[in-house]
Symmetry: C2
Subunit: 272 residues, 2 copies
């Protein structure tokens, strides 16, 4: 099964469009866990176990693992290999040229074995191609990110009047999605922009981070992005699930938070 | 000493503006070396030993190490810790938001201990800031990269007539370089663009990859970028040095290639 098929299967089984972001921050992890690679493995694997039947995907962010060096990489490899059902979207935001992009694609899809990856489009088509050609994996291109600084380049107005993020969305739709495995990352902190991108790309998967700690509005996000007969939106939440409780009870608290978020997304989808 | 001071010291001592890129490709390494993390460590450390008195910096690209997983990260850590004199510019092209960018900055500057890093500007100011605030380290922002796909976004014409890469150069100059530790990455495959960026940013360091295998012209690059009393250009060469010979003699061949390149850069600087 390719990424999109795996995703659809899990969505149907779990009735969920919620993705839990795995951003293990040593400063915020439960107090009883060690502050090392074993600790972040224990933390993330417990969260994954507790929520695997409530989510459509997991999204580990490489940064938090790289911060612990080689031991962090080993922890990340072990998490990817758990294979609990929901596909792994590796939040890596990679982008490099030629043979280097090939090495990154190998690192992500072969060495780690992730099902999908996030990619930065600034270096253009040939930097993306070594990932895109893995037709069985998902590639989410950064389009309009959830942070305030996204205005610096992404909102830049082009000579034809379009903002850069819309040009990126259209390149993804017209040139990069030849294998049907491309999605877009659009922050939930910009519902109007999300609606504009959805109009331009009615069929593409949109991965929307920024709900919760970053202030994105869940109902507005679902309304803006989920056009079409089948929802084409993955709602990512990290901190509101991971850090629901920092005591011994953290995994059960994460499960409760994930269930509430899943149900809220489904209610918003029904109302949309 | 901060990055710029270390760089200046090494440039004076070695009379060199050549940076050797460490992109260890298993398919092209000397035949007698093992195709694993020990092999890439042996390969890169021999190249570094053989050229440390001929270069101004080394630039390992993380992709080739990540492709070997945790063992590759260990090899990269060992290379950074060799401390042969020339500073380490980690070619990571990172860019992420908020706490994630902080984790990457920790990974690069603290866990690995690199002297400088390459960064992707697509996510904007707040994604760069966790790196920039390390005033003793160098931050090279991707501006106009050496690959053909750089035209897709970087050449996009803005409403005011400027290409996006020039807007990035000016943001770097006016907003991101508050600690004096910011440089730009501009591919040597675009000498006219390099000259345009140099006019906009007369004082900033420019890291120019793309000489050699990628077809960049050394003399045109030096002429375009090295304005000012002191050269402000780092010329990166990877494959022409690394793969000068794939036999037992590879390190000596790399040394010969590095010396020729250093001398050619210096001759071009004198003629410019």
């Amino acid at each position: 099964m390719n990424f999109r098929e795996t995703l659809s299967t899990v969505v149907r089984r779990n009735q969920s469009w919620l993705c839990v972001g795995l951003d293990p921050d040593l400063a915020r992890m439960p107090d009883h866990l060690p502050r090392d690679a074993d600790g972040i493995y224990a933390f993330c694997s417990a969260i994954m176990d507790a929520t695997a039947d409530l989510v459509c995907a997991f999204k580990p962010n490489v940064a938090f693992f790289e911060a612990l060096g080689a031991a962090g990489w080993t922890a990340l490899e072990r998490l990817v290999r758990l294979r609990l059902g929901p596909p792994i979207i590796l939040d890596a935001k990679r982008g490099d040229i030629g043979s280097t992009a090939e090495a990154y694609a190998h690192a992500v899809f072969t060495t780690l074995g992730a099902d999908a990856v996030t990619l930065n489009p600034y270096l253009g088509s040939d930097a993306l191609e070594p990932f895109l050609r893995h037709a069985d994996r998902g590639c989410f291109i950064l389009c309009k990110t959830s942070n305030p600084g996204s205005r610096d380049l992404q909102d830049a107005r082009l000579a034809d009047g379009r903002p850069l993020y819309l040009a990126v969305a259209k390149m993804a739709r017209d040139h990069w999605n030849t294998h049907g495995n491309v999605g877009l990352v659009v922050g939930a902190t910009h519902p109007a922009t999300l609606a504009e991108i959805r109009r331009a790309c009615p069929d593409m998967l949109i991965l929307a981070p920024g709900i919760g700690a970053q202030g994105g509005d869940l109902e507005a996000t679902v309304r803006a992005a989920a056009a079409g007969a089948e929802p084409r939106l993955i709602v990512n939440v990290s901190r509101a699930v991971l850090y629901a409780d920092r005591g011994m009870n953290f995994a059960a608290a994460a499960r409760t938070a994930a269930r509430q978020l899943r149900d809220a997304i489904n209610a918003a989808l029904r109302a949309a």
